[in-house]
Subunit: 404 residues, 2 copies
C-alpha cells in the first residue's frame, strides 16, 4: 500500500502537497492540494443527494467546461448547509488555490468533508493553501501527505495506481480516496481524486469516468450504511503528457483507458468498503439473470443495505431467508419459483425451494474477510456486483457514542 | 395494558384461544385461533414484498370475497420460501381451523411468523388447532392466550381497543399485534388481527382498513429497520352485531368508524415500535409542507430509516446535518434554501442556514422516550408522521449473536 501513496504524482505533470491548517481539533492533517503543471482536462461526478455542500455547487460550475488545473480539499468541516456564506467560502478556497498555482479560480475544483452545518475557518484555509503552494514540487513524499490530509476517521489512507498502454506509450492513472469516517461524529463521505497523463478530449474523459464509477463493485456500487453523503465527489484531471495520439472518440484505445480507470476505481472503492465504519467483513453481492440491469442493481443494493443481512453476516449466520426478503422488497421483478441463492459456493435455495446444505460450510465462508452472496433471479440477462459491509457494535459506537 | 389483552373478544360475536403445539424449541405458546360465531365481513392488507409466505398467498385468495369467519396463526415458523408443500400446509392449516369452527376453509385466513425456509410441522399444528376448538368459548382469559401465542421475541404482548358510537349504538373495535422480534434468529414480522361488531359492507370494511393502515403513524408509517417482512398481514373481521344500520357507503358514520379503527391501528403500531428490536427511543418524524403527500412520506421514511439518524438519536446527539442528509437522499423534492429542521421544539436549521441553538436543550429532548424530529420543506401542503426507533448495540446482539 505505502508505495501506492505516491500514486497521484506518478502520471506525468502532477504535483501534490498536504498539511495542517488547524481545522481539526485533533491537530491532524486537514488540507491537500493536487495540481497539474499545465492546463488539463477535468471531469467529475457528484453526490445524487438533493442537499449538497457548497463545494459541490461550485465544483459543478467549474467542471462544466472540462478544463482544470487543481483540486483543493479540506477535511474536518464539510461546508454543507451553510447558505450564501458557505458558497462564498468555497469560492475563496478555490481562488486561494488558483493564486498558489497560477491559474484561474474556475480551473480549481474545491472539496470539503467533515461536520455539517458549520462554517469553514476560511482564513486558516487561505493561509494553509498559500503555505502548501511552495511544497508542491517536493515530490512523492508530499503526495503521501495529501492522501492523509483528506481523511476524516478512516483507519487507513487509500491510494491506487494502474498503467495501460496506448499507442505503445505507457499511460499512468493514479488516485487517492477517503471513505466512511466520522468527526465528532459526522457522516461518511466519499471523496476520490484521480490523475492521469492520458490525452483525452473532455467529453471522452467524462464518459470514461462515468463508465468507471458505474462499473461492478466501483464507486456507485458500494454502500457502507445506505446513507448518501451531501459531499460525495469523484474527480479526475488528465494532463495529456503520456505522448499518445489524443483520444477523441470511443475507439479501442478509449476502451483500454476506461478499463484501466475502472480497475483503479474498483481498487479504491474496495479500500473504502474494507475500511467502512465498524466493518469486519466485505460483503460482495452478485445478482445474476435479473430482468434488467436496473433490476440487478436494485436487488443487489437492497441485499447489501439490509440491516438484517448485514447483522447475519456479522454473526456468521447463513440465514438466507433474509437475503430472499431483501431481494423481495427491492422493487426488482422477482419470481420466487425461479430464484436461487448461494452463500459462497454453497447453494442454499434453489428455484423456490429450500435446499439441504452443509451449515458449517456456509458459516465457514461467512467467517472469511470477504463474504460472497449470489442471487440468481432466473429471469433475464441483468447482472450486478455490489459491495457492502457487515453491521457491528463498532458502527454504533462510532456513530452514537461520541457526541458533538 | 393487561385489561386490553381481552380486546379481540370485546366486540360482540368473537371468541379466541391460544396455546402451545410444539413449534418453538422454547416451548412457548405458538398457536392462536380467533373466530366469529357467525359469518362476518373480512378485509386484509398484506406485505408489499415480492417474496411472500405461503399463508399470504392463501390469505389473498380467501379474503377476495370479503367474507370470513376466523384467523388461525402460528409463530415459530413463517412458512416462507417453502414452495408447493408450503402452500399445501397453509391450506391444511386453514382447513383444520374450519373444521374446529364449523365453516368452509376459504372462510379462514391463515398466518405464520418465524424462521424462513423451513416447513411447518403441520401435524402438530392440525392437532393443536383441534385442541383449541373447545377452548374458544372460555372467554377473556383465552383471549390473552391468543395475544401471547402470536409473539416471536417481542418483549410484551400488544393489544388495544376503541369504542365509537354509530346510530346511538356502541361499536367495539379490538386488536392484537406482534412486532419485531426474532427466533433463532429471524426477521421481524408485523401481524395484526382486528375484530369489530360494526356492520359494514365488505367494500366499506376494506376501504376503512386501507385508510387506517395508511394514516399518520399507523402500520404503513412505521419502520424498525427498513426491512420489509415477507409475512406482514393486518386483517379485520366484522361481525355486524352492534345493532346499527349497515354502513354501505362512505357517509359520516363510515368516517366515525374509520376514525376509531385508525386510532386503534396507531395504538398498536406505536406498541410495535416501542418494542422494536433493541429500541430505547421512539423517533417520531414529522415532515411538513412537502411538495406532495408522497414526497412527505418519502422524506419522513428516509429520516426514520437512516442508520446515521438512528445512531445519533441513540447517542443523544443533536447532529441535525444527518437529518438534512436523509431528506436530501430521499428522492423528495427539496429546496435547501426553504428547508427548516427542529429537534423537539428547538429550531436547529432555518431556511437553508444553521441556527444557533441550545445544544443542552436539544440533547435533553433526545434523551426522552419519544424523540420528535420535524422537517419543514417549505414547498407545499404534503404532510406525514412516521415512527421509527433508534439503532442500538442490542439490535446487533439480537440479530447477529444468536445463530440458527
Amino acid at each position: 500500500m505505502d508505495q501506492n501513496l505516491s500514486s497521484i504524482t506518478r502520471p506525468r505533470g502532477f504535483l501534490a502537497a498536504g498539511g495542517t491548517c488547524g481545522i481539526k481539533a485533533s491537530g491532524k492533517p486537514d488540507l491537500a492540494l493536487i495540481a497539474c503543471e499545465r492546463p488539463a482536462r477535468l471531469a467529475a461526478v457528484f453526490t445524487t443527494n438533493a442537499v449538497v455542500g457548497a463545494p459541490v455547487l461550485v465544483g459543478r460550475e467549474h467542471v462544466r467546461g472540462g478544463r482544470g488545473r487543481a483540486f483543493v480539499v479540506n477535511s474536518g468541516c464539510s461546508n454543507v448547509a451553510t447558505g450564501q456564506r458557505g458558497l462564498d467560502d468555497a469560492r475563496t478556497m478555490a481562488a486561494a488555490a488558483a493564486e498558489a498555482i497560477g491559474c484561474r479560480p474556475t480551473e480549481v475544483l474545491p472539496a470539503s468533508t467533515g461536520v455539517i452545518g458549520h462554517h469553514l475557518p476560511i482564513d486558516r484555509i487561505v493561509r494553509g493553501v498559500a503555505e502548501l503552494g511552495p511544497k508542491l514540487a517536493a515530490g512523492p513524499r508530499s503526495d503521501a501527505d495529501a492522501a492523509h490530509a483528506i481523511l476524516t476517521t478512516d483507519l487507513t489512507p487509500k491510494a491506487a495506481r494502474r498503467c495501460v498502454t496506448i499507442d505503445d506509450q505507457v499511460v499512468e492513472i493514479g488516485g487517492i480516496a477517503k471513505g466512511s469516517g466520522m468527526i465528532a461524529p459526522n457522516m461518511a463521505t466519499m471523496l476520490a481524486f484521480l490523475t492521469t497523463d492520458a490525452d483525452l478530449s473532455a467529453p471522452m474523459l467524462r464518459r470514461a469516468l462515468k463508465r468507471a464509477v458505474n462499473a461492478d463493485a466501483s464507486f456507485n456500487r458500494i454502500s457502507v450504511d445506505s446513507d448518501t453523503s451531501t459531499s460525495d465527489t469523484v474527480a479526475i484531471l488528465a494532463s495529456g503528457l503520456a505522448g499518445h495520439q489524443p483520444i477523441r472518440e470511443p475507439d479501442s484505445r478509449f476502451d483500454d483507458f476506461t478499463a484501466g480507470l475502472t480497475a483503479l476505481c474498483q481498487d479504491l472503492a474496495y479500500q473504502v468498503i474494507r475500511d467502512g465504519e465498524g466493518a469486519e467483513h466485505v460483503i460482495r453481492v452478485v445478482v445474476e439473470h435479473a430482468g434488467s440491469e436496473a433490476d440487478a442493481l436494485r436487488a443487489a443494493r437492497a441485499v447489501a443495505d439490509s440491516p438484517l443481512v448485514k447483522t447475519a453476516v456479522h454473526g456468521g449466520d447463513p440465514n438466507w431467508g433474509r437475503i430472499a426478503m431483501a431481494v423481495g422488497k427491492s422493487g426488482a421483478q422477482v419470481n420466487p419459483a425461479r430464484m436461487s441463492i448461494r452463500i459462497g459456493p454453497t447453494p442454499v435455495y434453489r428455484e423456490g425451494r429450500p435446499t439441504a446444505f452443509d451449515e458449517a460450510e456456509a458459516a465457514g465462508h461467512m467467517a472469511e474477510p470477504e463474504v460472497r452472496l449470489t442471487v440468481d433471479l432466473g429471469l433475464g440477462a441483468g447482472r450486478c456486483e455490489f459491495l457492502g459491509c457487515d453491521l457491528s457494535r463498532q458502527y454504533i459506537a462510532i456513530n452514537a457514542d461520541y457526541t458533538t
